[in-house]
Symmetry: C2
Subunit: 258 residues, 2 copies
């Protein structure tokens, strides 16, 4: 059984991670990804020095300057700190594990992983439901809905960016409640909803666009995980339609027993 990866004549060092050339994704971006992944999976311990630049260059089969480009992107992002003469150190903790399940709640989900976490209400508006929002909420297209734009932060770093839609006729004032409480769960409680479930979630991934970069403080070329979900009451009434974006380099999604 031939292995396609064993390309003709190409030497493949045992330690060499694979890098794609002329790919549309620059080498420094690919290497930055790999370093992030290595940190997230514990290969490079927190507060420890990375291997020196020359070693990384050899490991990935690129020039030292290319490694430096990758490192400087991660330094700018607050993941690494480089110190002349000493080395380059891992600042950032491992990837946070965001639970997804029938009763996912932001506030409790990251407990134990981040000492501080909260949701910021960025904006709210009343608008007419688009096709997909209307369908998700079981409303007619064009019905009035309230949209809440929020950002989740953990230890001062953005970990999610979400838009949530609610039936405007039923949840009048939920924007004010959200601004006051900083919690979707608490806001819904004011409308007599003390429990709700995730009905369905669809998950995809794409490159971050300009809005994602600004909202999530990412570097260009980063990847975002996108979830589109409908929350329902225990008796099956849809109450919330939402689209969330997570920076793939900082968050992994843990699908818990649902």
């Amino acid at each position: 059984m031939d292995d396609k990866r064993q390309k003709a004549g190409q030497f493949m060092a045992v330690t060499a991670d694979s890098i794609e050339r002329r790919s549309g994704v620059s080498l420094w971006r690919q290497i930055a990804d790999k370093i992030l992944h290595a940190i997230a999976s514990g290969d490079f311990a927190e507060n420890e020095a990375l291997p020196p630049e020359v070693a990384l260059a050899e490991r990935y089969g690129v020039n030292r300057h290319t490694v430096r480009s990758a490192i400087s992107a991660l330094v700018q992002e607050g993941i690494l700190r480089a110190e002349q003469g000493r080395g380059t150190f891992v600042l950032s903790r491992k990837r946070l594990s965001y639970p997804i399940g029938a009763r996912t709640r932001f506030s409790t989900g990251l407990q134990g992983q981040a000492s501080e976490r909260h949701i910021v209400l960025l904006a709210s508006s009343v608008e007419q439901a688009s096709q997909r929002v209307a369908k998700g909420l079981g409303l007619a297209k064009g019905a009035e809905v309230i949209r809440l734009e929020t950002r989740g932060e953990a230890d001062g770093r953005p970990v999610s960016r979400a838009a949530a839609w609610f039936d405007a006729s039923r949840f009048t004032g939920i924007d004010a409640a959200m601004a006051e409480t900083g919690s979707i769960t608490a806001s819904l409680a004011r409308f007599g909803i003390d429990d709700y479930l995730m009905q369905s979630t669809v998950l995809s991934a794409r490159h971050a666009d300009a809005a994602d970069l600004a909202d999530l403080e990412l570097q260009p070329g980063a990847i975002v995980l996108v979830t589109v979900a409908v929350n329902i009451t225990p008796d099956g009434q849809p109450i919330q339609f939402s689209e969330s974006r997570f920076p793939a380099e900082r968050i992994e999604l843990k699908l818990s027993a649902l």
Copy 2:
């Protein structure tokens, strides 16, 4: 509230999707992503012509040649077909929706979305459990495990690439069973396992590496969704540890009520 996205002096057409320059991801790759996304979400209908190159160039704020680079990548990938004098046409269907749930089975999951689907056993081997595999299966590190490398295909296109590990002492010969039946479920049935559940799944996303590109027939720069899962018997015994990769441009994951 200032909007960072409104860059100084730069004109931003109302229809212009956001594109990041000097990002480490080339413009043609970003535009290819956007076109794929537009197809997946139904903006460009199947068998219909895309807007002409000049229109796309204006829409994304780039040169026509840059759009052509994006299109030619998608043509190579079999997503589009360009016809001189006529236009550029969408060949490929929408993104498939792969269900993830407690009882996810490849064979049934894509029913109705693809007329033909099957799993190919690419390779199998016996090896010593790594730290994470051992932990997932509840074995001692270094215990003998059987690894199955598989690829899932739907309508002739690769949609998943997975490695699955089983306790070698309990599932001796599962590789042969898999080769014969082409189904994990059927193979496990031979060992008296007629039901199993997903215990936990961790989900992340990253750029495809060289192996992914070859296995999934992707173009460089593509994104893969990665799931790491443990399957257990109804009474809680771990039987399978697996890592799967899905091409984000062809697959979305639907987390069903579990």
